[in-house]
Amino acid sequence: MSPTAPVPTLRRSVALVWRSLRSMRTALVLLLLLALAAVAGSLVPQVGVADARIAATFRDHPLRARIFDQLGLFDVYGSWWFTMIYTLLLVSLIACLVPRTRAFVRNLRARPVPARELDAMRHYAELAVGDPPEQALGRARSLLRRRLFRVSGPNGAPTVSADKGLGREGGSLLFHAAFLVLLVGVVLGRGTGFSGQAVIVEGQTWTEAHANYDGTVREGRFFGEDHSGVQVRVEDFRATYRPTGQPRDFVTRATLLDAEGGELERVDIRVNHPAEAEGVKFYQFGYGWAPVIRVEEDGEAIFDGPVVCQQETPPEDVSQLQVPWTCVVKLPSLDPQVGIRFELWPDRRGLLALLETGEAMPMLVEYAPVMTWEAFEGDLRAELVQSVGVLDTSAMRPLDTGVLGAGETVDLRPGLTVGFTDLRQYTVLSVSRDRGLWIVLAAAILILLGLLPALYTSRRKLWVTAEAAGAGTLLKVGGFALQRRSQFEEEFSRLVRDLRRVPEERVGS
């Protein structure tokens, strides 16, 4: 390298990068890249949104799934390249905002100085008026003030300088800055918050703590393990339907208690109407049935409580309300161990219709509920990590099957009875905390407030000078607009026309 060639010092490269980050073109390209990345995110199933479809891709197209996984395509919004795009955009935004704000502040203070002769400007007019220069200029000044121009130059100065439309640049700056604030709010809120699901049976009390989410909780990157300990006691849950089977309302009646058990509030949680306690919000998310099952061995209860049942997703043409609910009871303390699979029909007529016509009836209410059951004995294989709702019968043999109505009891094997003592409902609440919410909302409002002047106003500058001409004055008006020029043309000619018009009282005097 010859000693005279410019040495690419670190400083110079930083300056170069900084300059290119400040360019409109970089911002534009980054914006379009962001959109493109989001397109990818909408075409490929995403974690947390379509987990089942991701699993299906891994099963059916393992190679494609592995490639997608490596590229982060299953989690676009958490991928390093998505993060990089928006981080670059943020840096670029700051790089733009700093000089623009500085220039804007300078502009706020400065008075427009005519860059050239007035008659060289895009809009220019000369007009002869009857009053002396002093008065004519004073008139121009007050006319422009009335039109909300910012007028400068002290009274008596030979030139009036005026400008208008600082809201355009100001609004634009506000918009861009608020966008920055919005992202800060999002990252802060998501990062320090959590969200998960609580399954609570009627009559039970659930405590907001990591362990009670059954693994459904997602905690932010900067989460401080500060779960609230708020408790929710569910009084009852009610689902109401229209005669067509379309849901009308889902309501969880509950009492919120603080971590010490002190009553905070009685609430009705329904769709679109969450409840809140100590910054934690509870949303109605789902519901289901929980039969209370009592198992006795030699007259002594070895299991007694509500069992949460789940529903399978039905095929396309079958309503979710026609599908029975399934749940499992495992009895590991027995020898040999026993597991029972239940299929619950909260409305008996659903099962009867299925048996008679081959098609189940939609079950909207509880009506003489009935369960079919299938018992197995052998080894539950509890040493394997298993879901509570799944019974692994690979090491078991069938024991018996049957039907069990509410309030009934059956014998499984000598000395072992199973009773269906009650039917309850459970509610699923979506629980979350987001402390950035207010920042995000405020920023969103500022974005809108900034956007309006940024898009709909225009920056205009205008100068008026006066020369004595005979008894009257020759006024010279020149100016230009940076945007919306065709509109300014009209505004300019209106201004000139009004300058020419001498106010009535002056004419009289």
Partner: protein, 312 residues
């Protein structure tokens, strides 16, 4: 009147509106080709008649369903096409005094309505609980108002691209712009005047369409009008999602695509202020935004599943 009567009224008025626009469209194309002012007047009359029937159809639908008729894709399309035609009459014919683009705009409305009856029709029915929220009403209405404006801008952009190409082919000279402008507060690569038309041939009245600079200005104005409303729509949608599902943003497909559309149109507003991107390139960005709008509106509901999907 019974619900059935209202449904009948709504569908009948829909047909009147549809054929009114269809007729208006044909008349508008006739005017485009032969320039007979009476044909233009007939086109406008048919369009106004169609618009009145269209309004009746929307109201009838609302009465039949006993709620604001913004519950499903059919109803969205009904309002969207109404607003596109209304915006066209007000902005293009009224404020813009441009007479030659009506056929294309009405064509868009006719297609939207045809798709609505053929593929999206459902009877009026009450809403499921998650959809029963004031924020949703505000959200959906602003999305539809802005969609209609952005769609109108999209149609104008396509016409701009067609016309600009023709002007370029003819090699018409760029006009001499009067009085340069001082750029005292511009960042690098920044050119003032995002809403200024790019250089275009002066007095090129010969072609079928208005001058490209006129089309460009009209397109920009409509998009700049629609963009903040789209922004507002996204914000109210987020507020609704917050109250219904406990998260204001979840990257579900509908949310994602409304974000994409927003970003692309933000890109368009930028492009117009970026040197080297004014004119044709910016218009292409707007065209991408238009396509993205259509995907947001149709494809997401019909093919991609998300929390919003029960709105179909």
């Amino acid at each position: 009147m019974s619900t059935e009567t209202w449904i009948l009224l709504s569908t009948g008025a829909f047909s009147v509106a549809f054929f009114g626009y269809l007729f208006g469209m044909l008349a508008a194309f006739h005017f485009l080709a032969f320039r007979r002012p009476t044909v233009w007047a007939v086109s406008i009359a048919a369009t106004v008649l169609g618009l009145a029937a269209h309004l009746l159809s929307i109201v009838g639908r609302g009465v039949a369903a006993d709620r604001i008729p913004l519950g499903n894709m059919y109803e969205y399309s009904l309002l969207l096409s109404f607003l596109v035609v209304l915006a066209y009459l007000v902005f293009v014919e009224g404020l813009g005094r441009v007479r030659t683009v009506g056929g294309f705009v009405l064509g868009f409305a006719v297609i939207t309505m045809a798709v609505a009856v053929l593929f999206l029709y459902v009877g009026p029915a009450p809403l499921i609980p998650a959809l029963n929220s004031y924020w949703r009403q505000v959200h959906v209405s602003s999305m539809i108002v802005s969609s209609s404006l952005l769609a109108l801008g999209g149609v104008l952009t396509i016409l701009y691209l067609v016309k600009e190409r023709r002007e370029r082919r003819r090699g018409e000279p760029a006009p001499i712009m009067g009085g340069a402008v001082s750029l005292d507060d511009a960042p690098p690569h920044f050119e003032a005047g995002a809403d200024e038309p790019p250089p275009a041939a002066p007095g090129a009245r010969r072609g079928l369409l208005p001058r490209s600079s006129t089309l460009d200005r009209l397109a920009y104005r409509t998009i700049a009008f629609g963009f903040p409303i789209w922004t507002f729509g996204i914000i109210t949608g987020a507020i609704w999602a917050e109250s219904a599902w406990g998260r204001y943003w979840g990257w579900d497909p509908k949310e994602t695509w409304s974000f994409i559309t927003w970003t692309v149109f933000a890109g368009y507003l930028h492009a117009r202020a970026t040197s080297g991107w004014k004119g044709r390139r910016a218009a292409i960005v707007a065209l991408v935004g238009f396509v993205s709008l259509l995907v947001t509106y149709y494809a997401v509901n019909l093919w991609i599943v998300g929390l919003h999907s029960y709105a179909t």
